[in-house]
């Protein structure tokens, strides 16, 4: 059944590639596994659309509209990234930045990472959720330090310590929830950690404990989401790791972490019945947006730039979830989708651009459009999409979020708008000279794989003008489910 396939494929892939990961055809194999995973995810989606939520393996796993679309998204981006990493990694090899051993590690860990994320998304057990998140951290740490340069080691170390410590807080939060749930659900152990059960009885959970638990969970998973001021690992890890990893970190891991936060928020809000969690989320969101917008101004490294832009967008999404309500949640989900698509697309082009220029410093990347129109246009359109230019989907999401903010939190709207303006100036001001102008770089041995880029951007464009009804319906259910009041 597709579910086993979904979780089994990456594991198998990890094992297989752990052995053959250095072969000439390993990249294709990697892509193949990702493709199978994606197919499984699609099949699963079809089934959900047909039959609604499912619980499998003694309720240990469950799929509902909220996580199924994230599963599909994850599998999809995972697949396209695998496609992109084929030529990219080859070039890295030819540049001699990687040894075959490292390539094996890379492929194995890539699959493992996919697995942990899918596990985190699909598990019904918040304890396992925690385990999977930690697993995701561990599998990516080694990918971040893949080049073994001093900088990458430093980035990896920070990533490891900060996220490790954060995750530890999250564990304590989980313990507290368990503790509170035990009173209500009773029964021996396991069921008291199953989200479905908790969700059923959330109103009975002891508020004081839950609020404390939420703080720990928020700080814990929030660190992985990259909410300011817990975001400090993020730019380093994005900048120093290999670009495909930056793409999946930005595009997927942050989403998954946010997913965890939202799941917890649903429980806690249910038990508190107060606005406290929402307020915290909105606070974090605003702080992140503003700080990230200002940080954007000082960037020299192109990957750091877009890493901060991820922080900014995560802030926006968190703010939207904080506002709650069907529209805001809908917008937040839409934004999650378009952000991960756009941002990964951008990282693809950035990867090629940096390879062409032989540097990640923006001052040294020039005239992409004359050098290779596809890369140039990819980066230009991607950046325009990410800064919220219509008719791309990001604008649609931001439109909904802003209008809802005007309705529910008028005081926050001007702040958001100002931050968006500042971010626009920063990002666009950096991207334009890179895309336009004269250049001195020369061609690459391998042709860039830009199909993923334009596929992503096409989807984003479509979402800006037309959200397919079933997708919309699906978002709506999810939005209602996560506290559409």
């Amino acid at each position: 059944m597709e579910f086993l396939l979904l979780l089994g494929t990456p594991v198998a892939g990890a094992l297989l590639l752990g052995v053959f990961g250095a072969r000439r055809w390993a990249p294709e194999l990697n892509a193949l596994f990702s493709l199978v995973t994606f197919a499984a995810a699609c099949a699963l989606t079809v089934r959900i659309v047909a039959h609604g939520n499912v619980l499998v393996a003694h309720e240990q796993f469950f799929i509902d509209p909220f996580n199924v679309f994230l599963v599909t998204l994850t599998a999809f981006v995972g697949f396209t990234t695998a496609l992109f990493s084929r030529p990219y990694m080859r070039v890295e090899m030819t540049h001699g930045r990687l040894s075959p051993g490292r390539l094996r590690l890379y492929h194995a860990m890539y699959q493992l990472f996919t697995f942990t994320m899918l596990l985190a998304l699909t598990t019904n057990n918040i304890g396992l959720l925690w385990v999977a998140m930690e697993g995701a951290t561990l599998s990516t740490v080694l990918l971040v330090t893949l080049y073994r340069t001093p900088a990458s080691l430093e980035a990896g170390w920070k990533y490891f310590i900060l996220c490790g410590v954060g995750i530890a807080q999250a564990l304590f939060g989980t313990i507290l929830i368990y503790f509170a749930a035990e009173k209500v659900v009773g029964g021996e152990g396991v069921t008291a950690l199953l989200w479905t059960h908790l969700d059923a009885v959330k109103t009975l959970l002891e508020p004081r404990v839950m609020s404390i638990a939420f703080v720990f969970l928020l700080v814990g998973y929030g660190t992985k989401v990259g909410l300011a001021p817990l975001h400090n690992w993020l730019p380093d890890a994005h900048a120093e790791g290999p670009t495909p990893i930056s793409a999946v970190l930005s595009g997927l891991l942050l989403n998954v972490a946010l997913y965890a936060v939202v799941r917890c928020k649903v429980l806690v809000e249910g038990s508190l019945g107060s606005q406290l969690p929402s307020t915290m989320l909105m606070g974090f969101g605003l702080v992140s947006v503003v700080l990230a917008a200002l940080f954007l101004w000082r960037q020299r490294d192109i990957k750091r730039l877009f890493a901060y832009s991820s922080v900014e967008h995560m802030g926006i999404i968190t703010f939207a979830f904080g506002m709650g309500g069907p529209v805001a949640n809908f917008a937040a989900l839409l934004h999650m989708t378009v952000h991960s698509l756009t941002k990964s697309a951008i990282f693809f082009t950035v990867g090629h651009a940096a390879q062409k220029a032989g540097s990640q410093l923006m001052d040294q990347i020039r005239g992409l459009i004359t050098l290779s129109p596809t890369i140039g246009w990819g980066l230009m359109l991607g950046s325009l999409a990410i800064v919220g230019m219509p008719p791309f989907g990001v604008f649609a999401a931001e439109f909904l979020i802003l209008t809802t903010a005007m309705k529910q939190q008028p005081w926050a709207t001007p702040i958001l708008l100002l931050a968006l303006g500042v971010a626009f100036a920063a990002v666009f001001g950096r991207v334009q000279p890179m895309v336009f102008g004269e250049t001195t770089a020369k061609r690459l041995p391998h042709p860039p794989a830009l199909l993923p880029v334009f596929v992503h951007l096409a989807i984003v464009l479509m979402l800006g003008l037309f959200v397919p009804p079933y997708l919309a319906g699906w978002y709506r259910q999810a939005a209602i489910m996560i506290g559409g009041h």
Partner: protein
């Protein structure tokens, strides 16, 4: 005054011991000693688990006690010792915050932790509910230790002691987590340590020292 059975008194004593050890770690600068302290902490944790298991006849607590013994008392300290010997990092340099101030702050944090624990303990029906505060205190102190230390090694030790605190918290609040999770957590900790081991060598070969001030180059240039 309500009468507390002997076993629980023992558990509380262990808890007190844990707290004491955290303070000791906060002040200790000799890395090897830190490892010993960590091992002792693990041992106390294990002992407390056993006592609780015996009193409450929760059998899965025996397994987690065994896990603790194997992982936190034997394997990890051994691993750390090996690393220390291989990388000869015996001493941590002066912490960022001098010891006396750290101690005072630690005291404040303990008070805060106990205050935080009140509502939780009030609900708890477990035998060892009074020790939840101590668990939180241990976590926060470990956190502080990580903040104040300059060597990668001592930071890792702080991280592990935080794990101990979490473990103790889980146990005193809810007699431990379900087995699945316990195993998962243990596995993660194990992997984490192995990864760290690899890390240390990489860092070492790059910077030929585990001093953290080498790891401060990635920042926003003013």
């Amino acid at each position: 005054m309500v009468h507390v059975p002997l076993l629980l008194q023992l558990v509380n004593t262990c808890a007190a011991g844990l707290l004491l050890l955290s303070f000791a770690m906060l002040s200790q600068r000799r890395v090897v000693t830190l490892v010993y302290l960590l091992a002792t902490q693990g041992a106390l944790l294990c002992l407390a688990t056993l006592l609780l298991a015996w009193r409450t006849h929760q059998h899965h607590l025996y397994i987690s006690a065994a896990l603790t013994l194997g992982l936190k008392v034997m394997f990890l300290p051994w691993l750390l010792h090996r690393l220390i010997r291989r990388l000869d990092v015996y001493w941590d340099t002066e912490p960022l915050l001098n010891t006396s101030v750290t101690m005072l702050l630690g005291l404040v944090i303990v008070v805060f932790a106990f205050g935080l624990a009140q509502p939780i303990a009030a609900l708890s029906s477990t035998a060892a509910r009074s020790t939840i505060g101590i668990a939180i205190a241990v976590i926060l102190l470990a956190f502080m230790m990580m903040i104040t230390r300059r060597k990668a090694m001592s930071q890792v030790i702080g991280f592990l002691s935080m794990e101990n605190g979490l473990f103790f918290g889980a146990m005193s609040a809810t007699y431990g987590m379900p087995m699945v999770v316990e195993l998962g957590v243990a596995l993660d900790v194990l992997v984490a340590m192995l990864v760290l081991g690899v890390f240390f060598f990489q860092i070492r070969e790059q910077f030929d020292s585990l001093d953290l001030h080498h790891l401060e180059s990635l920042k926003e240039k003013p």
